[in-house]
């Protein structure tokens, strides 16, 4: 990046006239100090590590834990699957630092959530644990992305918190809307309506993919 441009632009440093007595005391003193910086050549560069961002990782594991706990009340099977998933997620974030391990862990947690729902968990708990699972997924992925693009030494708190808050807000709104519809209908369970929701979801996911 150094430019070949040798435009005669004498730097503001007022040195050039000191050549007459440069060999005397003053010049010598300066020179010594500059030599010392020259020989001090071991580059004490800061170390750079790219571990997954700690805050997001911690939040992700916390969300995972919440998901596992809220999926547990109905059946011990959900708890078992969930704990495995949680272990995978935590190991992925903190031990192996592997996106894949964390992703598979989150997926397992979600399997536990669905099993819990099928086996009779309450509506509210199933919804909460699903939200917690999706948040765990999002925060875990964000932790890796922040860790890779920035570094462990960077202060990433503000960026991470804003991201987590935005994700949480979206999920909360979705829950509120869903429950509003649910209670307006008042347990009438129009299966056709839900079928349409599913159709809409599939088509929307296609549109996102293409």
């Amino acid at each position: 990046m150094s430019t070949a441009n040798t435009k005669a632009n004498p730097s503001p440093d007022p040195e050039p006239n000191s050549n007459d007595d440069g060999a005397n005391g003053g010049g010598g003193g300066n020179g010594n100090s500059s030599t010392e910086t020259d020989i001090q050549d071991v580059l004490e560069a800061v170390t750079v590590t790219h571990e997954p961002a700690r805050l997001s990782s911690g939040l992700a594991v916390g969300c995972g834990l919440l998901a596992v706990l809220t999926s547990a009340p109905a059946t011990i099977l959900a708890l078992l699957i969930g704990v495995f998933g949680l272990a995978g997620l935590a190991a992925g974030q903190f031990v192996f630092q592997s996106r894949r391990a964390a992703g598979v862990g989150t997926a397992l947690i979600f399997v536990g959530v669905v099993v819990g729902g099928v086996l009779g968990n309450s509506e509210v708990l199933v919804t909460v644990s699903t939200l917690a699972t999706v948040l765990a997924f999002d925060l875990s992925q964000n932790a890796f992305s922040v860790g890779a693009q920035l570094s462990s030494a960077t202060d990433t708190t503000r960026g991470e918190i804003i991201h987590a808050a935005a994700s949480f807000f979206v999920g909360s709104v979705a829950i509120v809307v869903a429950f509003a519809i649910y209670f307006v209908v008042g347990g009438g369970q129009p299966i056709a309506a839900l079928a349409f929701v599913l159709l809409a979801a599939i088509i929307l996911s296609w549109s996102v993919r293409s």
Binding site: N9, P16, V46, V104, D155, S205
Partner: protein
């Protein structure tokens, strides 16, 4: 508008209609009676949902994210250690089994040349005699080493193919090592150090030797280690890429699986949960391009004209002047490769409201040159689904110029000009120090007539004083790509060391009244004629800092074999015949030594200042160190002064020591 986009729109619209229908159905269930749906269809849709959800999750696991890879500008640049080529050749031969014949020939030739020059040096004999001694094996007790050089001779007879078939190559590396070891001993080179580090070297040689593994310092080249093709930009703002990160890929699975399972089991809780997955799918799709172009960046340097090696503090402040919020802003100050961050982090991760600002501070060790560097900005929208990468370049320039202040005296040799100066010559004339008395010649000045002798004997005689003259000195740098080497990754490379030392030498010579010029042999010609005066000095300072041939970054192109031009041509053409030479070179190949020898035989007095950048951790590095030591001896034998500069010590002390030896 292309087809893809249209399809997306249509699908999105259809999905919206379905969603609205379902809401309508939920509000007044009576509407549903007219629809031709049975329970079977609905169950089918549920199953389909689960299958699609699983497919989506599988897709996620199989795909990679497309995120911008950022560089690590904190780290020092990576320069190779001399001898890496040898290690690579050995690795290719023994592990990869590639190019066995070529590499073997090359290594054998190289080692044989070295052995012959060592024997010639020690026994003071001709090449032919040296070859005889080498073949006879009289020079060492090591049988493997003798076998190595014998094997070479038979290889010439047998041809390479039979070697490959017979599997003899397995024995090559141990023999090679033995030969290098024996030569080290024979040539009496730094034995202790080599022996001490030898074991260590063997340990890591297996896996780490070539791959540079186990290197204590991690290094970085900004362009190579990131996904940004180039950081050179003339504009204050430049977009690099705008891409979908795919980070939400697979989130649909949460919705589809939950909904499917809910429908199959008539479970309202799971159906409600499914809406969350759908909501995030939509969230991920609503992207807004972050308005990075409205960012205002200021970079403050604690000093805009530091000297090389100084540490300055840099503060970067960003302000969002746009009307919209930037929810996810990641910034990296891409400082030039030659710089090293010593404290703090040149990175920022934040969210900026409209009008808000943020800043970060770090300390950086600067290197000579004129620099303006960009700030890499990776901005995302709220969901992180869209990523915009751009380069923001604040209008701040850093010029790092050596001060050329005098640190010490530099011994100058006796080749001089007609100008009065500092160097005592071997000729009589006017001056201060008594030199000789000679017969009077008409025209001799009256004040130099030896009046005492005239009074005593009546004969006229003239006193000559020793003449003091100035020298013309050309400081010549070896800045070919091969000179960009350091003894271990993260240390200063030979060119940096040379230029740092030379800026001191230049100041010292200039202050002593000599005419000093600069030149470098490289693919980029560099020539600055010897001269004097403060303007000359000022221009030299800028040259040290800005000339591309002296850049801290290695030249990109290698010597092109096809159209080879001797890099010394332009220097030799311009060099005045009475100029002395200070040659700065790491002496890691024969060419540099040959340059010194040819200049010497061309009538120039040459002083070689050679920073020792060889190491001895691997066999290749050991070989290079022996070769370099032999080169130093070769030059000294020819009366060329060589300062074998151990970079851990100060050059001025070593020069003093050398001067005492030469005097």
């Amino acid at each position: 508008m292309d087809v893809d986009k249209l399809t997306t729109r249509v699908l999105f619209g259809a999905g919206g209609i379905f969603l609205l229908t379902s809401v309508a159905l939920a509000v007044s269930p009576g509407l549903g009676a007219g629809l031709p749906f049975g329970n079977g269809t609905i169950m089918g849709i549920g199953g389909l949902g689960i299958v699609l959800g699983l497919l989506s999750a599988r897709r996620r696991l199989r795909s990679d994210l497309t995120e911008t890879e950022t560089p690590n500008p904190e780290r020092p640049a990576r320069t190779p250690t001399p001898g890496e080529d040898v290690d690579r050749m050995l690795y290719e031969m023994t592990t990869l089994r590639q190019g066995v014949v070529e590499n073997r020939e090359q290594l054998e030739g190289r080692l044989e040349g070295l052995a012959i020059s060592i024997i010639r040096n020690r026994e003071d004999c001709t090449v032919k005699e040296a070859r005889e001694i080498l073949e006879s094996g009289r020079w060492t007790d090591d049988e493997d080493a003798i076998a190595f050089f014998e094997g070479d001779l038979s290889a010439a007879d047998q041809g390479g193919l039979s070697q490959m078939v017979s599997g003899k190559k397995e024995a090559f590396e141990p023999k090679f090592r033995a030969a290098v070891g024996a030569l080290t001993e024979y040539a009496d080179i730094d034995l202790d150090e080599l022996a001490a580090e030898d074991d260590e070297g063997e340990d890591e040689d297996g896996e780490g030797g070539l791959l540079g593994g186990g290197s204590p310092v991690e290094s970085n080249w900004n362009v190579e280690d990131s996904s940004i093709p180039s950081y050179e930009t003339d504009e204050a703002f430049e977009d690099v890429s705008l891409q979908h990160t795919n980070r939400w890929l697979g989130v649909t699975a949460f919705g589809l699986v939950a909904l499917g399972a809910g429908i199959l089991t008539f479970n309202p809780g799971l159906m409600l949960a499914g809406t969350i997955g759908v909501a995030y799918t939509v969230y991920a799709r609503i992207n807004a391009v972050p308005g990075v172009e409205h960012l205002h960046v200021e970079r403050e340097l604690s000093e805009t004209n530091p000297g090389p090696g100084e540490v300055i503090e840099v503060t970067v402040t960003v302000r969002n002047d746009g009307g919209s919020m930037l929810p996810d802003l990641r910034m990296i100050d891409v400082i030039p490769d030659a710089f090293v961050v010593t404290d703090g982090t040149p990175r920022l991760h934040t969210a900026l409201q409209s009008g808000a600002q943020a800043s970060f501070t770090y300390s950086v060790r600067v290197e000579r040159g004129q620099y303006q560097w960009p700030l890499l900005t990776v901005a995302r929208d709220f969901s992180g689904g869209l990523e915009r990468t751009s380069l923001l370049t604040p209008d701040v320039e850093l010029t790092c110029v050596p001060s050329l202040t005098v640190a010490h005296d530099v011994p100058v040799r006796s080749q001089t000009t007609q100008y009065a100066g500092d160097v005592s010559t071997e000729s009589g004339g006017s001056g201060l120090e008594f030199y000789s008395v000679r017969d009077y010649r008409p025209g001799d000045p009256m004040n130099r007539v030896n009046w005492k002798q005239l009074a005593r004997t009546g004969e006229l005689a003239t006193v000559d004083f020793r003449q003091e003259r100035a020298a013309t000195i050309t400081i010549l740098f070896d800045t070919r790509q091969s000179a960009y080497v350091s003894e271990s990754p993260g240390k200063l490379h030979a060119v940096d060391r040379s230029v740092h030392a030379a800026s001191d030498v230049f100041g010292a010579l200039y202050d002593a009244g000599h005419l000093v010029g600069l030149a470098a042999f490289d693919t980029v010609p560099c020539w600055f004629s010897p001269g004097a005066g403060s303007e000359h000095r000022e221009r030299a300072r800028l040259l040290f800092a800005q000339h591309p041939a002296l850049s801290p970054q290695p030249p990109e192109r290698d010597n092109i074999q096809g159209s080879y031009i001797d890099p010394m041509t332009h220097v030799r053409r311009r060099l005045s015949s009475n100029s002395q030479i200070f040659l700065f070179t790491p002496l890691v190949d024969d060419y540099a030594a040959e340059v010194a020898r040819r200049l010497d035989s061309g009538g120039h007095l040459v002083t070689v200042i050679s920073p020792d950048t060889t190491a001895s951790r691997t066999i290749g590095q050991q070989l290079t160190r022996i070769e370099r030591t032999v080169r130093v001896r070769y030059l000294r034998e020819r009366g060329i002064r060589v300062v074998d500069w151990d970079p851990d010590e100060r050059l001025d002390l070593q020069l003093d020591r050398a001067q005492a030896r030469w005097a």
